[in-house]
């Protein structure tokens, strides 16, 4: 393995890495918002909302991400919806992430002691006020560690978008390998970039966790 060769290709791969970051950040943001709404649906007292939320998480978590991406990118044009690889990848990843995030959010909310809701209601708060002022802020602290893991998994799983012709870090590496036939150097460089990204995620979440841990025992 030629380290100099590897270093030479790092900057070229960095462009793909940037795309990976962009995609991951978009799907974290959209997936979290959507996941939050689905979690509230799953916890709602309304049977219809609850059923929709359960169906969503069941369907998405029960099928592979790659299939979902194919469905959006290759399947939807059949019904007149043609998306760019970037749009298809963002939508697919967001929809997928939302299902997992919803489960994390739901679990965290359900883990909050029932006494918190009762205390909130007994000083006159409405159900909504109690949820948004008391339950959810506490649940968010509990969500941070599993969400951190989920976001890191998303970053790595985003490599699947290479299969719908998105030029992310994985696909950049594949292209460069086809051009140079230096798999060891190219894939090591890609691995370094993935590690750099996942490490940044881990450290960021670790510090958020540490800051919140100071408050609660």
């Amino acid at each position: 393995m030629d380290v100099r060769f590897m270093l030479k290709y790092l900057p070229v791969l960095a462009e793909g890495a940037l795309m990976t970051v962009e995609l991951t950040v978009i799907s974290i943001v959209v997936g979290s918002l959507l996941g939050f709404v689905i979690a509230l649906g799953a916890l709602s007292r309304n049977v219809v909302l609850r059923s929709i939320a359960h169906f969503y998480t069941w369907a998405i978590r029960g099928t592979p991400l790659m299939l979902q991406l194919f469905f959006i990118y290759y399947g939807l044009p059949e019904v007149g919806i043609t998306l760019s690889p970037f749009a298809a990848a963002s939508i697919g990843m967001s929809i997928n992430a939302a299902a997992y995030i919803a489960e994390i959010v739901r679990g965290a909310i359900q883990s909050i002691d029932k006494g918190q809701m009762e205390a909130a209601r007994s000083i006159g708060m409405s159900y909504m006020q109690a949820n948004f002022r008391i339950i959810i802020p506490q649940a968010i602290r509990r969500m941070i560690p599993p969400l951190g893991n989920e976001f890191i998994a998303m970053l790595k799983d985003s490599s699947l978008v290479a299969t719908i012709s998105m030029v992310d870090l994985m696909r950049s590496a594949q292209q460069m390998y086809s051009a140079t036939f230096r798999p060891l150097e190219i894939f090591s460089a890609a691995a370094l970039l993935y590690l750099l990204l996942t490490t940044i995620f881990t450290v960021t979440f670790g510090s958020i966790e540490a800051r919140l841990a100071k408050m609660e025992a």
Binding site: D113, G115, Q116, E118, A119, A120, R121, S122, I123, G124, M125, S126, Y127, Q129, R133, I134, P137, Q138, R141, M215, E216, A217
Partner: protein, 251 residues
């Protein structure tokens, strides 16, 4: 002040309250005693609508709890219940302080969210209530950093800040280490002397004798005996009351 008529409540097939009738006058301190599982907590929770009884009526002042009574049953409206709960303080066995808020913020929360006071105003009231329970110096502590006794006093301050007409206490000292019980009881005694109307589930005889105006003994979802503290404690009429008192006195 508080009136309860023919209250019934079951959980599934388990009847827990089997026709409770009760009246509490303004300024009274009613002490509720009874074995574990007799329905004391459920009764208190029905008094502020945390549980809705299957049938029976509850009146806070002249108002029916939940707003309307149809054919002897409460038909609660959320908005009315929320308003009424703000005027009924509730203190729990396990304190239930909001764990993500400091002591001060715990007391301010209802003032801001429910009473819609400005932060500065809420803070002023909250500090006064913390002083009332002797915890001004712990204002900025999170619940996890407070002892059980301190947490319970903050919980009392949180209720008091809402200026309740009546306070309900559900075994407020039974989760505390013995050496911490006294501080909480003395706060409650002060409150009683200030004229607060209170319903207190407790087995603290000293408290009942000192400030209790009446004691009721509950067993299996019924009130079996009722009277002045000295009557119920020293001359119990009902055999079940006698048995129960023997048990807790020998413990």
């Amino acid at each position: 002040m508080l009136k309860v008529k023919e209250l019934h409540k079951s959980f599934g097939t388990l009847p827990v309250l089997k026709g409770i009738n009760l009246e509490v006058e303004k300024g009274e301190v009613l002490v509720v005693i009874g074995p574990s599982g007799s329905g004391k907590s459920t009764l208190l929770r029905c008094l502020n609508g945390l549980e809705i009884p299957d049938s029976g009526e509850v009146y806070i002042g002249k108002e029916p709890l939940g707003g309307t009574v149809i054919a002897g049953s409460i038909v609660p409206k959320d908005r009315i219940l929320n308003k009424q709960r703000a005027k009924i303080g509730m203190v729990f066995q396990r304190f239930n302080l909001f764990s993500h808020l400091t002591a001060l913020e715990n007391v301010m929360e209802g003032l801001i969210t429910v009473k819609k006071l400005k932060r500065a105003e809420a803070k002023k009231i909250a500090l006064k209530e913390l002083e009332h329970v002797g915890l001004l110096d712990r204002a900025d502590y999170y619940p996890a950093k407070l002892s059980g006794g301190q947490q319970q006093r903050v919980a009392i301050a949180r209720s008091l800040a809402m200026q309740p007409d009546i306070m309900l206490f559900d075994e407020p000292t039974s989760a505390l280490d013995p050496e911490l019980v006294g501080d909480v009881l003395s706060v409650m005694k002060n409150l009683a002397r200030e004229g607060m109307t209170m319903v207190v589930v407790t087995h603290e005889m000293g408290f009942a004798r000192e400030v209790g105006t009446r004691v009721v003994f509950m067993d299996h979802g019924r009130i079996l005996e009722e009277g002045k503290p000295e009557e119920v404690f020293y001359k119990p009429q009902n055999n079940r009351t006698k048995e129960f008192l023997n048990k807790i006195l020998s413990a």
